[in-house]
């Protein structure tokens, strides 16, 4: 185990209205076994002892599943190692490195403080149609509806999205297509999701557009930045499903 000395360039902004700026901090004696957030904890503890306000950042489970941690590290959300920031370990860095730490940036993610942004826009997309409308208690026996294993696995792959928003933050256009398409694909693949498929696709895409996200230009930054390996195949599928849903809506079939 070695210890690292790093220079941090961190975005600081007191609140949504304030003018933000990059500030420079020294992170000394950071164990390389520490996670990225533990490194920030150490820096923050130092700041508090100096009477300064600590760097605010979102985090919760610290095991890579809740999707609350964010941070754009050296221009790449989560640092681009296919893990969330909380699972990024300092052994990925070298002694003497300068690390840029910025919030997840997108107009649809208003900044709240320092590195904390508001990702409610993603919840709004789910609220528009990212569900199967079944009432509690009305479900039939679980084994009444066989699902091909391959289908179930594909649905799971899409459902593994943690909703962190790295896809939006990494996209050159701040598009939420990967997020939206993953949830739509999860439900559209399964037999349970069929009755509402067209309705879901239209509602989710329209909500996504209304939230002020950009448009997908098939650059696949999202897939590369996604800590959960969500595939852009989902985007292709959403494009397909959207065309079908629009056609169905226009001519009044299954809509």
């Amino acid at each position: 185990m070695a210890n690292l000395n790093l220079t941090l360039k961190v975005w600081r902004q007191e609140n949504a209205q304030a003018q933000g700026r990059i500030e420079t901090y020294k992170a000394t004696n950071i164990p390389d076994d520490a996670s990225f957030l533990e490194m920030l904890d150490i820096v923050n503890e130092g700041l508090v002892h100096e009477g300064k306000e600590p760097i605010h950042f979102d985090h919760d489970c610290r095991e890579g599943i809740c999707g609350m941690c964010s941070l754009t590290i050296n221009g790449v959300p989560h640092g681009g190692k296919h893990v969330t920031t909380c699972q990024l370990h300092m052994r990925q860095f070298k002694d003497g490195d300068t690390i840029w730490i910025e919030p997840f940036r997108a107009a649809a993610f208003p900044l709240l403080r320092d590195l904390v942004v508001d990702r409610t826009a993603l919840d709004n997309i789910i609220a528009a149609g990212g569900f199967v409308d079944v009432r509690t208690g009305s479900a039939p026996n679980a084994n009444n509806m066989p699902v091909r294993k391959k289908t179930a696995d594909a649905a799971f792959d899409a459902a593994a999205c943690i909703g962190c928003g790295a896809c939006v933050a990494s996209c050159k256009n701040s598009s939420a297509m990967l997020f939206t398409s993953a949830k739509a694909a999860h439900l559209n693949l399964l037999p349970q999701g069929q009755p509402e498929k067209n309705k879901r696709v239209l509602a989710m895409v329209r909500q996504m557009d209304a939230m002020g996200f950009g448009n997908c230009t098939n650059q696949y930054e999202c897939e590369a930045a996604c800590p959960k390996g969500i595939s852009v195949d989902n985007i292709a599928k959403l494009n397909r499903d959207y065309m079908i849903a629009c056609a169905a809506e226009a001519v009044g079939v299954f809509s």
Partner: protein
């Protein structure tokens, strides 16, 4: 300090268990329960705190039924609650495997697994609705693991000889929570739920003895606000972070539950804290949390330590690779001690066995606190590909954290605080001793007794939220005039002022220690003295030390920033203060319970072979603690447990 004499009260509220044979109690309850006309439901406002499996499923279900739901969580989205981190699975008595499962057997296993300290009627109801949970989740689109025929697959889990656990790879909690989050979002979209993310509950408002509202802090603006409702549902999870290092999320805290306790809700069995056997060992002082490796790994991994201390020492120093240790030099201690359950022995037993091995100086990991979980044989038997299909994400996660490939070298694991069986006392209606305050999921005490079996937490959270509360809530609500209390009641202003004063007091200390430093100090003490093995001495030691740490907090804490706007230091300080208020209670309960049962192991009370020695004569009760003010001993109320259906027996997993 000498022995402590706890004040005991003869009064105990009724647990409201319907009479009749156990398998008919829930049916009978539902048949006779009060109903509320669909048109009247919207007149009732239900405040739900927490959006994990229990809170989220309750919010979705009650909103579907037509209640006016307001829901609060401290995270930025309801989808992030810590239920999401549950890996292994969810139990149900479907018997799809044809291996002899039934509602009764699930009930029996859960009561036995809980070492006969759970309430029979609640557990039976849990087992009864378990199948509905799976049906509901599948209908929502939860992608459970399936077989090639298209039907659902099952795996077996710690403490069970059946395959009754439904799973979604190693992310079952995530998929179940997303299912319930989606159901919630559906109702949010329809305007039936008002969602308040980044909002932390600070206090409960009790009006004329009934829970009628909450005081919250808006974590973005810093504003202290109140909300009034006809009932409050608390689903705020457990208090495992009292140990500082735990598998809980960083934000998990006892604040809301502790506030309710102080307002008169009984806290039941706080000493039942589960230590999970398969976590990644501690690395250093800077560590913020411990990561769980799913218990399902024990299906195929074999747990061992070297037979000799010399070999263990060499491994610790890095002079020898674990894979080079000869078979004859390995002690597969769980298989040796518990031949019929082997590596699948219940959590408390596995955890303690690991501690014993490490206490015997045969532990591995640099700190000497670790044992091996080895997949060598499973990989040889089933192939690497099959193993990756089962545990791929867990292997990756392990490698990411430790930089060791578990295909090549065994994993290192060690027990860590994981789940808390204790919680606010509730009756059969899930209502606490404060009328109107309902408690769901991990935050209540009811179903797991002294130890929770694997894959039962998800089951309980969802059972409470989807199926129980919807039937039991009208029992209370029909006694209330809807909307009778508003935030204009003076109790709201009082509670708000008290919260503001407490915050100001913290801010004004301007000391030298960060909230984390004090939390770490508390956690270390609790882990050492109230962890896996407890003695009267260690508990008295902890009880004597806690007030000093608490004093240190109120004299020495340094909370930078202001009360306005976002202030994460203030959030931490508030939570640490609650843990400090709660810590004595944990120790008191552990001290009072002069027996070993389940996860509560008192070294004074063990069999000759080191097994837990229960004292059914004197301790077959739920210890319910009533708050009496700062510095006062809490009063003990006892709910006696009767076992009419499960024969009280020594829990043996040999």
């Amino acid at each position: 300090m000498n022995d402590i004499k706890f004040p005991v009260s003869d009064y105990m509220p009724s647990s409201c268990i319907p009479d009749g044979p156990i398998e008919q109690k829930w049916t009978k309850y539902k048949r006779e329960a009060k109903l509320i006309n669909p048109n009247n439901r919207r007149k009732y406002t239900v405040l739900i705190v927490g959006t994990g499996l229990a809170g989220g499923s309750a919010a979705a279900t009650l909103a579907e039924l037509g209640y006016n739901v307001k829901c609060f969580c401290y995270q930025d989205s309801p989808r992030r609650a810590h239920s999401i981190a549950a890996q292994g699975g969810v139990n149900a008595a479907h018997n799809y495997q044809n291996d002899g499962d039934s509602v009764y057997r699930l009930f029996y296993d859960t009561v036995k697994g809980g070492d006969f300290r759970a309430r029979e009627a609640n557990v039976y109801r849990l087992a009864e609705v378990s199948c509905n949970i799976i049906n509901q989740c599948v209908a929502q689109g939860v992608p459970f693991g399936r077989e090639y025929g298209g039907l659902l697959d099952n795996r077996s889990f710690g403490g069970s000889q059946l395959k009754r656990t439904f799973y979604s790879r190693g992310q079952t909690g995530q998929q179940l929570l997303l299912g319930c989050y989606q159901a919630m979002e559906k109702e949010i979209g329809k305007g039936h739920i008002e969602m308040y993310p980044r909002t932390e509950m600070m206090d409960l408002v009790v009006v004329d003895g009934h829970a009628k509202g909450i005081v919250v802090r808006d974590m973005v603006t810093g504003e202290i606000k109140s909300y009034a409702g006809d009932t409050v549902l608390l689903a705020t999870g457990g208090y495992g972070r009292v140990f500082f290092l735990s598998t809980n999320a960083m934000g998990c805290n006892v604040g809301a539950a502790c506030a309710c306790w102080k307002k008169g809700a009984y806290f039941a069995n706080p000493c039942f804290t589960q230590i999970h056997p398969t976590c990644i060992p501690v690395k250093g002082d800077y560590q913020s949390k411990l990561t769980l490796m799913s218990e399902s790994l024990r299906n195929d991994g074999r747990i061992w330590v070297p037979k000799s201390r010399e070999v263990a020492a060499k491994i610790r120093k890095g002079e020898m690779k674990p894979s080079d240790v000869a078979e004859s030099e390995r002690d597969y201690y769980l298989e040796r001690k518990y031949p019929s359950f082997g590596n699948l022995a219940p959590r408390d037993i596995s955890s303690r066995a690991a501690k014993e091995a490490c206490d015997d100086e045969r532990g591995v990991a640099a700190t000497g606190r670790g044992v091996f979980l080895d997949f060598k044989d499973a990989i040889e038997r089933m192939g690497k590909e099959w193993i990756d299909g089962q545990y791929g994400n867990l292997f990756e996660m392990y490698e990411e954290i430790t930089d060791v490939d578990p295909h090549e070298q065994p994993m290192m694991i060690y027990p860590a605080s994981h789940y808390t069986m204790g919680g606010l006392w509730v009756d059969y209606n899930l209502m606490s001793s404060i009328p109107g305050l309902h408690v769901l999921g991990e935050a209540n005490f009811s179903d797991h007794g002294a130890n929770r079996l694997g894959a039962s937490a998800l089951m309980q959270g969802l059972s409470d939220g989807y199926f129980v509360i919807s039937s039991t809530l009208p029992t209370y609500l029909t006694t209330q005039k809807p909307g009778s209390i508003t935030t204009a009641a003076p109790e709201f202003k009082e509670a708000e002022d008290a919260v503001k004063a407490r915050i100001q007091k913290m801010m004004d200390v301007k000391g030298t220690k960060t909230p984390d430093e004090i939390h770490r100090e508390l956690g270390k003490l609790i882990w050492e003295d109230v962890g896996m093995g407890r003695t009267k001495e260690s508990l008295l030691h902890a009880i004597s030390k806690i007030p000093a740490i608490r004093e240190d907090f109120w004299n020495n804490v340094k909370v930078v920033g202001s009360t306005e706007g976002m202030n994460q230091e203030l959030e931490k300080a508030w939570r640490v203060a609650a843990f400090l208020d709660f810590a004595d209670l944990l120790c008191y309960d552990a001290l009072n319970r002069e027996e070993s049962c389940g996860a509560h192991f008192r070294l004074e009370h063990q069999m000759a072979d080191g097994e837990a020695k229960r004292d059914d004569e004197n301790f077959a009760y739920v210890a319910c603690w009533e708050y009496k003010g700062p510095g006062e001993l809490p009063v003990l109320h006892k709910e006696n447990l009767t076992f009419e259906n499960v024969h009280l027996a020594i829990r043996s997993y040999k």
